[in-house]
Structures are given as C-alpha cells and as structure tokens.
C-alpha cells in the first residue's frame, strides 16, 4: 500500500523535528564530554585537587595552579551581583509599580538598547571611565594609592552594567505576572504601596526574580571581553577589590593559540574551560533547586 504524500510528509516532519531536538539537547553533553576528554592529559599528570587548590602558575615548569583564576572569577561575580541585584530589583519595582506608562515605555526601551550594545564597547567604556575613576578617586578614598585601576572591582562594575538590561527586562516580565487583584487585596486592607510591594508583590514574584538573576549571571559568569579589558589580568590571588585579577574566561581567551609549544598547556586551557562550564552548570542547578523550594513554600 502506498501512503498518500501528505501522510508521509507528516511522519517525516515528526521524525525530523525529533532528530533536531535530540541533537540540540545533546549539544551540552557533547561540549562537556569534549572538554573533559581534551583535559584528560593534565588530569593524568596532576591531581584534580592540586589543580584547583594551588596558586602557582608556571606553565614552563608544569605548575598549573588554577586558584587565582577561580577566585578572580568568583570575586568578580560576587562584586557584580552585589551591585546589580539590588539596583535591578529597585529599578524594576519603580518601572512596574510607580512609573507612569510613558516613563515606563521610555526607560524600558533605553534598557533594551543597552542590551544590544556589543561587549567591546562596555570594555572600552570601562577603560576610559571606570578604571581612571577607581585609580584617581575611589581607591584613594579607601587609602589605596598604588592601584592602576585595572582591578576586579572594575571588572565587577562593568559586568554589573552589562547584566542590568537583561535582568531588568526579565524582572519586569515577572512583576507583570503578579495579578493586579493581589495588589488590590493588600491595598484594600489598608497597606500602603511600599508595604504591598515589599510584603506581597516581591514575595509572590520571588521565584521569577531569582530566575532573572540566575539567567543574567549565567551569561555574565562567562562574559569575557569586557571584563578582560579592565581586570588587569595578573595571575595572583586578589586580596582587595582594588587588586588586579585574572578570571577564567580571560585566561582562555588571552592564551589559547599561543605558547602551545609548552607541554600540557593546551590541556590546561581545556581544563579551564571545563571548570568554567562545570561551575556554571552547578550554579544553574543550585539556583533551580532553590527556586523550586521558594515556589513550593509560596504556593
């Protein structure tokens, strides 16, 4: 029996979208697997614990201590989170709860334009504005005279500015899903606007707000170019926010393709990529778990 063409097409279409979905779904495993496979040589000659806990980086002498890179990455992320999260929450609360329609649409479109700016421009802007501001004004105010301004603080600031637009955008969407009637319920009990926002709206929106932060920072974690331009790139553990740092993505981007004659160097960089990916995955899974718990408590 010959199947009519349209039935055949239907079957083919079903199967091919399935194949494509499987392919895309397996990309993550392919990337993780590939990186792991490529970093095997260094894992065979050095223990995993040594790699992530030692701080001496002398590839010529086969000393690969990733600690400065890992700590730089973590510090920069913490700095930018500390700056960005409160600002993003307050900004989106203002736009969603207080601003008039006109102000809201104007500011929202500005924020969206910000999201489209290439990261190299943020980097340049960091060099001409943030770096001198830190070395000339901020660091001296804290009694640190000898900084160049190229520091993890500069990296954190640039990163914070880069995640603003995406995080604010998602938070606005989240706040819009909180029903008007819920706000009215709180207001009708005699709560004022701020009490309503603090105790009801933000509480209801909490899981979504966490999701917005996670999404923003999953991207920011691995953001390379802009941070690399202002962070100083020194393979030492930073001891203050005015010290230079060297985050993992910058290590990979700066060195891959160079100095490949050094044995194990290639594998060390692959290990750095693997590490970065794993950290981001753990961050995502942890955030998702946390979000689920918050959601369960709320509903």
């Amino acid at each position: 029996m010959v199947l009519p063409l349209r039935i055949l097409l239907d079957k083919v279409a079903g199967k091919s979208v399935l194949c494509l979905s499987v392919l895309i779904g397996s990309l993550l495993f392919l990337i993780v697997g590939g990186l792991y496979f490529k970093s095997l040589p260094i894992l065979e000659s050095h223990s995993f614990w040594d790699l992530i806990s030692k701080s001496i980086w002398k590839p010529g002498k086969e000393q690969f201590g990733f600690l400065p890179y890992i700590l730089s990455t973590v510090y920069i992320t913490i700095i930018s989170l500390t700056i960005a999260v409160p600002l993003c929450i307050l900004c989106s609360v203002y736009l969603s709860e207080y601003a008039s329609k006109r102000v809201k649409s104007f500011v929202t479109s500005l924020v969206d334009i910000l999201a489209g700016i290439p990261s190299v421009i943020f980097g340049i802007w960091g060099i001409i504005m943030i770096v001198p501001f830190i070395s000339d004004t901020l660091a001296p105010a804290f009694g640190q005279e000898d900084t160049t301004g190229y520091s993890i603080l500069a990296g954190g600031l640039v990163l914070a500015i880069m995640v603003f637009p995406i995080v604010i955008h998602i938070m606005l969407e989240v706040l819009r899903t909180v029903p008007v009637e819920l706000r009215e319920a709180s207001l009708s009990l005699g709560a004022n606007k701020w009490e309503t926002i603090k105790k009801v709206v933000l509480r209801k929106a909490a899981p979504g707000i966490i999701a917005a932060i996670v999404l923003g920072f999953s991207r920011a974690f691995g953001e390379t170019l802009a941070v690399l331009m202002v962070v100083g790139n020194t393979a030492l553990i930073p001891h203050s926010i005015f010290d230079a740092g060297y985050p993992l993505p910058a290590l990979i981007a700066n060195n891959y393709g160079e100095m490949m004659s050094i044995p194990l160097y290639d594998s060390a960089l692959m290990f750095a990529s693997f590490l970065l990916l794993v950290v981001i995955l753990i961050f995502n899974v942890a955030a998702r778990f946390f979000m689920m718990r918050v959601e369960r408590r709320m509903s």
């Binding site: 008039s100 029903p179 009637e181 319920a185 009708s188 009990l189 005699g190 509480r203 709320m298 509903s299």
Partner: protein, 283 residues
C-alpha cells in the same frame, strides 16, 4: 465640585458640613434608613471613554446592596471608587464626590490607607496573599500596628470562626493559603477583610468563581454579617440579588437606571430597561 487624581480638590469641607448637605435623591428616599455611602455627581473617564456618567446614589447602612447590570456597565468601577482602588489605574479621571459617613473620601486631607481600612474587599477570584493562612489574617492587623502574639492569635481564631473556616484550617494554620480549595480561599479573604475591623464589605462578584455550595456559604455569611456591616456587592446573577439583597442598584452603560428596595425593583420596576433586564430580555 470637580476633582481628579492629579488635581486634588481645593476645598474639602468637614464631615458635619457635608452631613447636612446630603439630601435624599429626588423621589427615591431610603425610607428613613441611615445612609452609609453617598455618591454625588460622579463622573469617571478613561482617555476618551466615559465609564461612569453623573452617578448619584445613597447606599443604606447595614443592608445588603446589590449593584446589577450587564457586563461593562460600570458596576465594578463604581464599587472601586468606594475605596479609591480606582486610582491605581493609569490615566483615570475622577470628578465628583463619594461620601463615607459624611466625609468626602476624595478630599485633600483624607489618609487613603485609613479610609481603605474601613472596607473589606472580596474580589472575583479569591486572592490569598503569598503567605500562610495565619499570616493572611494577621497581615492587616500587623500593618495597623498589632504586634502582640497573644492578641494576634486570639483575633485570627475569632475571624476564622466568623468566616466559618476555623474547623477546616485549625490544624494547618501555618500552611500556605494557596493550598486551600477555592471556596475556602474566598472565606479566608472574607476573614482577612473582617480582621481589620471594617464598617463596610465590598464584594466584586465574590461568588462568580466558586462552586454552588461555596457560593451558598458566602451568601449565608453575608446575610449573617449584615447586622454589623454595610455590604455592597456587584453581581451579574439576578437570582443572587433576589435571594440576599435588600436594596438594588441597576446600571446600564455607565448610568444608574433605577435603584430601590429589592422587592420593589424586582417586582415592579419603573423603567422599561429595568423591566427588560429583570425579565431576562437583555442581560
């Protein structure tokens, strides 16, 4: 006197002055019943469309007043002007007066949170706050400064009993309120509203999302509570108005067509439009 959100009224006048100004509307006196809410020449517009047109009405004290009429006739808008929730919509223009206990609530010196505290609100869909059953009831009391645990405990129990919910929730007071069935949620919202000790209960089609049994319980509750509270409810169910309302306001396209004691309006409507609505010709 005209006012809008952006331009508060120049002169508010004091309560007693207003009390003497209120006269029963032409030929439609409330038969000696005390008035609790009086609306005077209320016009509400949004952009170019006028939602309420020159509405004037007296709502009797400690009775159930039902506002009926087809969808989009302005019932809910009218209800929301009573506790100034209407203001939260962007671009709304409000003209006229709403007097509660003789005081214009749109006056300049009115503290809106204190005024809202006088009115409990039940919305169409029950809206439990994102917190536990206990905290839902305690929320309003805490906002108004009650902190003492023993007082809170006592009152939470009392108001849950008032809303006939206590027996169903007494063992799980600290569970999220959203775990309750929808009918229970609406009774929780009632208890929450009563807990701030209002004088008036506003219901915006409070039974429309509920099953028949839950609806019946809310209706019974309203009848019980009308000795202590003035109840104003919007409903699109004519039979509901017939069952529980003492006084009915019929609206059509932003205007009040007719209002009067429930049996009079339902049995002998004066206006042609009301007749058709009551008979079910229009709905």
């Amino acid at each position: 006197m005209q006012t809008s959100i952006n331009e508060p009224m120049e002169k508010t006048g004091n309560a007693s002055q207003h009390a003497t100004l209120i006269q029963p509307l032409n030929g439609q006196s409330l038969n000696g019943v005390k008035t609790h809410i009086s609306v005077r020449n209320l016009n509400i517009s949004y952009g170019n469309s006028q939602i309420l047109k020159n509405v004037s009405i007296d709502i009797p004290d400690k009775k159930i007043t039902a506002i009926i009429g087809p969808s989009g006739c302005g019932k809910t808008t009218l209800l929301k002007t009573f506790n100034r929730l209407i203001e939260s919509s962007d671009g709304i223009k409000i003209e006229g007066e709403v007097l509660v206990d003789g005081e214009n609530i749109y006056g300049k010196n009115v503290e809106v949170t204190n005024m809202r505290k006088k009115m409990g609100l039940l919305s169409q869909r029950p809206m439990p706050l994102p917190m536990s059953i206990y905290d839902n009831i305690a929320y309003g009391m805490r906002i108004h400064g009650i902190r003492k645990k023993s007082i809170l405990n006592e009152r939470v129990t009392y108001y849950l009993k008032q809303a006939s919910l206590w027996n169903e929730v007494k063992d799980r007071l600290h569970q999220p309120a959203t775990k309750l069935s929808i009918g229970q949620q609406q009774r929780l919202c009632l208890a929450r509203g009563l807990a701030v000790e209002p004088e008036i209960i506003l219901g915006d089609e409070p039974t429309s999302a509920l099953d028949p049994i839950s609806s019946q319980r809310i209706e019974e509750k309203f009848v019980e509570l009308k000795d202590q509270y003035t109840i104003v409810m919007v409903t699109h169910i004519l039979r509901q108005a017939r069952r529980i309302a003492d006084y009915i306001v019929f609206m059509y396209l932003g205007e009040i067509v007719e209002h009067g004691p429930a049996h009079e309006l339902l049995e002998n409507p004066r206006e042609e439009m009301t007749k058709e609505y009551v008979k079910g010709v229009i709905s």
